[in-house]
Subunit: 367 residues, 2 copies
């Protein structure tokens, strides 16, 4: 990681280390293989069809998206098998999904409501192809997903009785994250597994045995051996990892493959320096561990607050920062997914040399 | 504001009401005129050269940017007079600023350090044109800017003695915001004014009387009659206003000209509904007033938490939300600047009809 490389670029700028990225991709592919589970990577972290293709080369049967504009971008890049893990509602989504299926998309979709099931039925009628559908279960994050066993069985039966291809259940373990003490994480994963097990047993008793039990989240995936019930895992962040992954004990600073090169632009007081990377560069996600990113060269410093274009750095011991104007620092973001969504392009580095610049093809795909 | 309009669009999507925007632009132009101050609008709120030109038509002698890529975009749109209110550091910035000046940019710039002054001197030598420079003063936000009177006078003298065109002082009252009780805001504006007055007096005594005293921030601008010392004000958010502006008493919901149309996509429990607008649509700025945006149709509801693509809505009284899947809501963002930076395009509405779609030309301009 020669510093001379970062000295040559205009800042702030996102750099992705290709070798570390490949290492992260391979490690998760091997973990999934060793667990006997399918790996269905969430592409929202990298937003790059090139990496999605690589994830499928490494064994993923399909990749995950949230929005249909992401599905369209991946389909254009030749990726036909996808999991759309987001509730599809409204006429515009219905027409677009049918159009993508006509273009060759083979989608598995999540659903957690009767209107959602109705939309899938209409799309199946329109396209003549039943969609594989997973009932979304709430395992504790309390966002989407049904919590009651009876509700889950009822919606599964509705799917199985209609024109959909009822395939099983899905969940997102978003509550298993850096906000919890790392020592609590295994028990939270166990509790999620118990919910999935209870749901699967009830469905099986009702003659609706799930063939797919899909668990989402990079932190649960890092504890994959505890996910006994799931047939597949859907981590996203694992490709680059980030400071929140580090805080969960699921990465070291050296594993983190995406970072921002920033410059010290102001040192108005000895105990304060200002970087040119703010929330428009790193995203405002946080604070985590009191800050908005991990300063690789200086873990004794904290990125204490962000404005849009400014990052205010202080020493953890409240003493002088020792930073000088013009100095370069590299920052691992708290949350690499939201960071990546802010940038049109990123630099690709290979053994400390910048070798390419890639577009963030699926950036800003909110619809 | 016929609901039928929003029912027809795919969501989530940003809509800008052109009539309200014009009203906000005119009102601030009139306020500045009545105060006898120059209005130097910060373009980071709208990121649209079209609106920057309109701001200059309404009397602005120049508009503000933070980054040189923003300056370049405005210059390409024919806007030559600009204030670059961000510390310029590093060879890449030096070369690019010189290039922009060669292309016709007439820049006033902020500086708060010796290295910053050195860069301006080199640019002046390179281009043969001295840059108008303002010394940045810290009036309480503790981000960039010098706090000590002697430091300010020393840097002003350094500029005046060098090849720069020393023009005065500048500040950003970022601490005068929605996090303070509204009743405290007038006193905070008075305190900022007192700092500027003290600095200006010291500079005048030193033979460095400032011809420009520039104050930044939409909330201080709303209290413009208290800014006795400033010769110019630099609000940004006033063009669209947002929920944080409302919380400061500087806007009503009806003044807010930019909003997100969102759809209810999940109602997994009676006391919880999920919108398709998350932090990737609204930005994660907040929480303000317990939430991440103002739900115009239902102020009794709160946008309690955001994931990237999900907004979880709860009732303020913890009762049922009453929302149904497919229902449309319009959300005023907490912070319109960070929201606008997430979107490639927005819809333009005129008296409730969608009449156009505009690109967010300066989106993502971090360098």
């Amino acid at each position: 990681m020669g510093e001379w490389v970062w000295d040559a670029v205009d800042t702030p700028v996102v750099v992705v280390d290709r070798v570390k990225t490949e290492g992260n991709l391979s490690a998760m592919a091997e973990l999934a293989k060793s667990l006997g589970k399918d790996l269905v990577p969430h592409t929202k972290t990298h937003k790059s069809p090139v990496w999605a293709r690589r994830q499928m080369e490494l064994g993923a049967p399909r990749v995950m998206v949230a929005k249909l504009s992401e599905a369209a971008a991946l389909l254009q890049a030749g990726i036909r098998t996808q999991y759309i893990g987001y509730p599809l509602v409204g006429a515009a989504k219905e027409y677009r999904l049918a159009e993508l299926i006509d273009q060759g998309l083979e989608a598995m979709v999540a659903v957690d409501s009767e209107p959602g099931a109705d939309l899938l039925a209409r799309v199946a009628e329109r396209t003549g192809r039943p969609l594989a559908a997973l009932v979304e279960v709430d395992t504790g994050f309390h966002r989407c997903g049904l919590e009651g066993v009876e509700d889950v069985v009822r919606l599964a039966r509705r799917l199985a009785d209609g024109p959909a291809d009822y395939a099983g259940i899905t969940c997102f373990g978003g509550h298993i994250n850096w906000r919890q003490p790392p020592s609590d994480l295994p028990a939270l994963v166990d509790a999620e597994d118990a919910v999935l097990d209870r749901m699967a047993a009830a469905l099986t008793r009702a003659g609706l045995a799930p063939r797919v039990i899909s668990e989402g989240g990079s932190i649960p995936a890092a504890f994959g051996e505890r996910l006994k019930t799931a047939t597949e895992i859907r981590p996203g962040t694992y490709i680059y990892k980030d400071y929140c992954t580090m805080m969960c004990g699921a990465a070291t600073a050296d594993d983190c493959a995406a970072f921002v090169v920033a410059t010290v632009v102001s040192t108005p007081a000895g105990d304060r320096a200002v970087l040119d990377a703010g929330s428009k560069t790193l995203s405002g996600d946080g604070p985590a561990d009191g800050g908005f990113g991990y300063i690789r060269e200086r873990p004794d410093l904290v990125l204490a607050s962000l404005s849009e274009e400014h990052g205010v750095v202080r020493a953890r011991n409240a003493g002088p920062t020792g930073l000088r104007i013009g100095e370069r620092l590299t920052i691992v973001p708290n949350h690499v997914c939201t960071m990546m969504n802010l940038h049109d392009r990123f630099l690709v580095a290979d053994n400390g040399k910048i070798v390419d610049e890639w577009p963030v093809v699926m950036r800003g795909a909110v619809r």
